[in-house]
């Protein structure tokens, strides 16, 4: 590596970090149907590989067999607003109220939800007469993230989103979560050591001397894998956000996860901790 990366010098380094084990979900057709009833959906569960699926004439519920995650959809939701082109977007308050009802129905996530953002589901339609397109907002998306004992749950597998259409009704929603239990405290990797490991990673190995790498932020979190994936531990990680600049790609924004604890692979196997070194961890 021919380049220099400036890391924050004031990043706190805890001496040890909590390890949370994931309680393996035990979905059955019966428990999936029971979950579906929370949304007023009465249907037998069908095994569709990664998901158990319950569907009636109005809604479809997908239950992720590898985690405690669910996805609910209104059948035939008009996701491009094709039937309601002139409808006004609903208010953010209304969208939030629908979202809170969904979170109440879905049940305990064993972590604290916090509102992250309310974003627009946007569609542009272009024709020969209007080749640049006309934009419309076809729904609002209420996005939540989670914390566990004060620490941010990071990565794709701990979040919730409710999309509310312009008719004011829930169109699509998901809640990605895993039930956990506190296992033990484990020695932490010092922040500066983690930064050095990241700097030595394959990502930067071939950059030329005129490349620039800036780190914008660093924080601690517990990594949650996609809801489709089996996970044994919520791995403590440093979340590093920054930017790489080269002549060919002047602004490459990245978010990388660097292990904040070292887990010996043999110990992990003895403890039945699965996938302690997932591909998402960069160093």
């Amino acid at each position: 590596m021919n380049i220099r990366i400036d890391f924050p010098q004031d990043m706190p380094s805890p001496r040890e970090l909590a390890l949370y084990g994931v309680i393996a979900p035990a979905w059955t057709a019966a428990s999936a149907s029971k979950q579906a009833q929370r949304f007023g959906l009465r249907a037998e569960a069908r095994d569709a590989g990664p998901w158990l699926v319950c569907a009636d004439e109005r809604h479809t519920l997908e239950i992720y067999q590898a985690s405690h995650s669910v996805r609910l959809e209104r059948n035939g939701f008009d996701a491009e607003g094709r039937q309601t082109k002139s409808a006004d977007p609903i208010s953010r308050d209304r969208a939030r109220s629908v979202a809170e009802r969904f979170l109440d129905s879905v049940g305990d996530a064993h972590a604290q939800a916090e509102l992250a953002s309310i974003t627009e589901l946007r569609v542009l339609e272009a024709t020969k007469e209007q080749p640049k397109g006309v934009a419309r907002i076809v729904g609002l998306q209420v996005n939540y993230r989670y914390r566990l004992d004060g620490l941010a749950l990071v990565g794709p597998g701990a979040k919730a989103q409710v999309t509310v259409g312009n008719d004011g009704e829930l169109g699509q929603a998901y809640r990605f979560a895993r039930q956990t239990k506190l296992l033990t405290m484990h020695p932490a990797v010092d922040a500066q050591q983690a930064f050095e490991r990241f700097a030595r990673s394959a990502r930067f190995a071939d950059l030329r001397s005129d490349a620039k790498v800036k780190l914008h932020s660093a924080k601690l979190g517990l990594l949650c894998l996609p809801p489709t994936e089996v996970q044994g531990l919520l791995m403590p990680v440093y979340v590093l956000q920054g930017e790489v600049s080269t002549e060919a790609l002047p602004s490459e924004i990245f978010t990388s996860y660097v292990a904040a604890v070292d887990i010996d692979a043999r110990d992990a196997k003895r403890q039945r901790w699965l996938h302690t070194r997932p591909g998402l961890i960069a160093a």
Partner: protein, 224 residues
């Protein structure tokens, strides 16, 4: 059964930072989708000209009729920007640019560009829409930056195999694998008699006829 191909780049030889998970991401798609597998080109064998139309733009070395436009669906994993997606070696100019691309005039129906910002909203129709769609049904990508992650290709294939529409499968796969700061996006084309909104993977539901001369283009984006 439909046909597929993948291209992925881990090693950028200093042109940009290297990526770690493009190979498992693209091969997850390749090895999971119910399809006939036609090509898997990675790193120094992944070339921009494989995506480009012969005789179009500069350089004019495109060979898409042998590769990308000769299958039903392609998955690319690597770096991108609004104006191009990047390759590690310059057999041509190491960039696949819309000024050199016409898709669907031979076979291609769906393409997933798992790369940052390619489908950024601003100017998307004049960039990737009208010049590129000549039979292509849907282009899947991101409005924002996206993560270097290993699972999205397989998960996309699982949703397609399960009978989701192509657009819905992409949205779900992105939501399953990204934080909500990332925004998925897609472009699709229609003309009289076509219905690409309800397109499925081959053998898993309805597939529209080709919009070979599209009259309407749709762009959608939302939070993952």
């Amino acid at each position: 059964m439909g046909t597929i191909g993948i291209e992925w780049v881990k090693s950028y030889h200093g042109r940009a930072s290297n990526l770690t998970n493009t190979k498992p991401q693209a091969e997850g798609f390749y090895n999971t989708l119910s399809a006939t597998r036609q090509f898997n080109w990675g790193d120094d064998l992944a070339w921009d000209q494989d995506f480009e139309q012969q005789g179009k733009g500069s350089p004019t070395t495109g060979t898409d009729t042998s590769w990308v436009d000769n299958v039903d669906m392609v998955f690319f994993s690597g770096h991108g920007s609004p104006g191009s997606f990047l390759f590690g070696v310059a057999t041509d100019d190491a960039r696949a640019k819309p000024t050199e691309i016409v898709w669907g005039n031979r076979d291609l129906e769906y393409i997933a560009l798992d790369a940052c910002n390619v489908l950024e909203e601003s100017g998307v129709f004049s960039r990737w829409g009208w010049p590129v769609f000549k039979g292509l049904h849907l282009m899947l990508g991101f409005h924002t930056t996206t993560g270097d992650e290993p699972d999205r290709g397989r998960i996309l294939a699982q949703y397609l195999n399960a009978g989701n529409t192509v657009r819905s499968a992409w949205i779900k796969a992105c939501q399953d694998t990204e934080g909500s700061d990332t925004q998925w996006a897609y472009l699709r084309a229609d003309q009289a008699g076509t219905d690409t909104y309800n397109d499925h993977w081959w053998g898993k539901g309805s597939v529209s006829s080709d919009p070979s001369n599209p009259t309407t283009l749709y762009y959608a984006r939302g939070a993952c």
